[in-house]
């Protein structure tokens, strides 16, 4: 049985381009879709936010109301609902003065999983242990 670890690293703020959102949706896809895998093979994705990318994790985004597109918040809630590991860089949150209570959660949708606020060192280890590291 082989497990392939993937690290999706979102480093840019959302909405200016589709690119950072693709990081989230691709990670969700790898967490949920098994159709292309051989028997006994697994893929374990981790979704990490660093740099300006951490701004995607703010609560109360109103993208649907204003842009008529799904918000990064909505995609992050979905990620938590499917038990995807979501890590956000502690140092970068602190740099922007963002406290943990301002971070997205999916409690209202019944998710037990939460976004993990971790030192960059932890994200670095996540990248080192992954077979593929994809930046968005």
């Amino acid at each position: 049985m082989a497990d392939t670890k993937l690290a999706f690293i979102v480093q840019r703020p959302q909405y200016k381009s589709e690119n950072p959102k693709l990081g989230i949706t691709h990670a969700i896809a790898y967490q949920t879709v098994e159709i292309l895998l051989e028997d006994g093979e697994t893929v374990t994705p981790a979704l990490c936010f660093i740099g300006d990318g951490v701004l995607a994790c703010l609560k109360d985004q109103k993208a649907m109301g204003n842009y008529e597109i799904t918000s990064s918040e909505m995609h992050l809630k979905t990620a938590l609902l499917v038990d995807l590991d979501v890590l956000v860089c502690k140092e970068d949150l602190e740099r922007f003065g963002i406290t943990e209570d301002k971070i997205v959660d999916a409690e209202d949708m019944g998710a037990e999983k939460k976004i993990q606020v971790v030192p960059f060192e932890t994200i670095q280890k996540e990248m080192e242990s992954a077979k593929h590291v994809l930046f968005f």
Partner: protein
């Protein structure tokens, strides 16, 4: 020249703004540019806010990103699309988009 400059990025715009000369310079923060109005790095406001006395941020773009009017720097006036149209027609002769 009365110049209104739309800033739609969070990075790489301050250097260009330094080169723009206008008797009246307005900086209109839209899209990801609104982060300049609200986000402080290491407790410091964006240096872009030092570039003009006429600073605006679009409320819809703030809301989209989960930012509230109360988090916006006091130097920045929060405006809606209707206010923006008024600015374009009444306050600035030329407009640029960075």
């Amino acid at each position: 020249m009365k110049l209104g400059v739309f800033v739609s990025d969070f990075r790489n715009t301050v250097d260009t703004l330094d080169r723009l000369k206008a008797e009246k310079l307005g900086i209109i923060l839209v899209q990801n540019g609104v982060y300049h109005a609200s986000i402080k790095e290491n407790g410091k406001s964006s240096p872009l806010l030092e570039k003009s006395a006429n600073l605006y941020a679009l409320s819809e773009d703030l809301e989209t990103r989960g930012l509230t009017g109360s988090s916006v720097d006091s130097r920045v006036k929060v405006i809606n699309y209707s206010d923006l149209v008024d600015l374009i027609f009444n306050d600035y002769e030329k407009l640029a988009w960075l």
